[in-house]
């Protein structure tokens, strides 16, 4: 029983980090109806940026986010303006190809700069843990989870307590109507893409601090992130949060009570069952967005 509780706690802690990584993906889909296949590559890029700052400048992983998040924000805005905005027709389908190309470019550049060797982020708190009752918790898992909570709460406040957030939500709900009340939807789209990519800097650091990675690690990540936003409901932030926690808890518990070999399989079987019963995902809407 203790093993199961431990698996659930670990699932919640890592699920929070996945929610952070998936939040940008689902937000971008909500506003622009594009599927950013490069989200996994952005996460790995974020991890490498933290790695480079720690290795070369001895900057703490969390402090380094003050540099990497703004850098990734600007990169995201530039990519949206240069590669996504020009797509005028079949935006959803073409965005898959365009962002896949972006992912390949990122992977190529990272391989040239850092080689394909596996690396790990290093900091004292990555290897240390503390005890609560009968459970040992790793500091990095707790810190990563708290970072996710803080950033997701900040994202929530941005969306629901600011005028910019109103314009994002309006663009998500009805793009044409948003334009007709004076919202610059293209600007909102660029900033939203930037925010989505900036969040991957934090997600990447938390991911890299708990998992060894190389430039090719983005493929497994993007498949998991896409699964999360499909299960949660495309465009739903709350759905992404629930799906992330659900995925990691189910996988961890399955690994403990049955076998790690079956952990992903059990989750995907459940995913199929849920999507048969509720094709729009947990918190998604069947009706498409009005244009």
């Amino acid at each position: 029983m203790e093993l199961i509780i431990d698996a659930i706690i670990t699932g919640i802690l890592t699920g929070g980090v996945y929610a952070l990584m998936a939040s940008g993906l689902t937000l971008v889909f909500g506003v622009m109806e594009i599927i950013n296949i490069a989200q996994g590559a952005f996460v790995i890029l974020g991890a490498y940026l933290s790695y480079a700052l720690a290795q070369h400048f001895h900057i703490d992983l969390f402090l380094g986010l003050l540099i990497t998040m703004p850098v990734m924000f600007v990169l995201g805005v530039l990519i949206q303006v240069l590669f996504i905005r020009p797509l005028k027709r079949d935006r959803t389908m073409l965005s898959i190809l365009v962002t896949f190309a972006v992912a390949l470019i990122i992977e190529g550049v990272l391989t040239i700069l850092f080689t394909a060797n596996i690396v790990t982020l290093k900091a004292p708190y990555i290897t240390q843990s503390f005890r609560i009752g009968n459970f040992y918790l790793s500091y990095i898992y707790v810190y990563g989870f708290l970072l996710s909570v803080v950033l997701l709460a900040g994202l929530y406040l941005l969306l629901y307590r600011t005028k910019f957030g109103q314009s994002v939500r309006a663009s998500m709900l009805n793009r044409t109507a948003a334009q007709l009340i004076g919202i610059d939807v293209e600007r909102v789209s660029a900033l939203t893409f930037g925010i989505g990519v900036a969040l991957t800097a934090a997600g990447g650091m938390a991911f890299g601090a708990t998992t060894a990675f190389n430039p090719g690690s983005s493929y497994d990540l993007i498949s998991r992130l896409l699964t999360i936003i499909v299960l949660g409901g495309m465009g739903s932030l709350s759905g992404a949060l629930i799906a992330s926690l659900g995925m990691l808890i189910i996988e961890n518990v399955t690994a403990v009570v049955w076998s790690p070999t079956w952990s992903s399989t059990v989750f995907f079987v459940l995913l199929v069952v849920i999507l048969i019963l509720r094709p729009q995902g947990l918190l998604g809407k069947l009706e498409g967005r009005k244009q």
Binding site: S167, R169, L173, N174, A177, Q179, L180, G182, I183, K290
Partner: protein, 239 residues
Amino acid sequence: MLTLHQVVAGYNDSEVLKGVDLEVAKGSITCIVGPNGAGKSTLLHTISGLLHPWSGDIFFEGRNIAHLNPRQILEAGIVQVPQNHSLFTEMTVRENVRLGGYLVKDASKVNRTLAEVEELFPIVRERANDKAGNLSGGQQRLVEFARSLMLNPKLILLDEPSMGLDPRTLKQVFDKVAVLHESGRTILLVEQNVRTGLSASTHGVVMESGKVRLTGTNTEIQHHPEIGRLYLGGTLAEA
């Protein structure tokens, strides 16, 4: 007030408006009628900046607005209520109406305008905290009208306000069109429901195949024999 001169516009490679000339007089309610595919809604999209004309000019109060974006056109004093329901369904009625004043930076001014709009459209106050998506089609139309007033526009473009409404609700909606007009706004509306649209208007415009075929007062349009035969199934006077 609004003058279109040889406006050509369309979507992708498809030309929909093929040289539209149109005059909208200040203080009028001008109703555009015509068969499906005539280009009525495309015309409103072109005026409101959702589409840019391929050629031609659009003058509003003497200024060429042909290549302004929707935001600049709003600032010039033209607001459009589109054909499909355009409320943000997951937001409350009050949030929706407040968003109509998105371009206004002064929050106190937004509040003052909101209070005035609530006087004209009591439903905004009565259903303030309900999600807009929970209102009926007719109620949503009224809230859309209310939202259109938040920038104190000079010209309101209404795209098929009667669409999907039952006769009783239709009357309520057109009563409110009159309220918009009485509040000093010029109105340009597109209607499939020809009788209702022309009856509520001061002027009529008939479009066909991307061109304006006939303009005149609503009485002239209603009694025009050819138009009545072609579009109205007999003149309105006979109906």
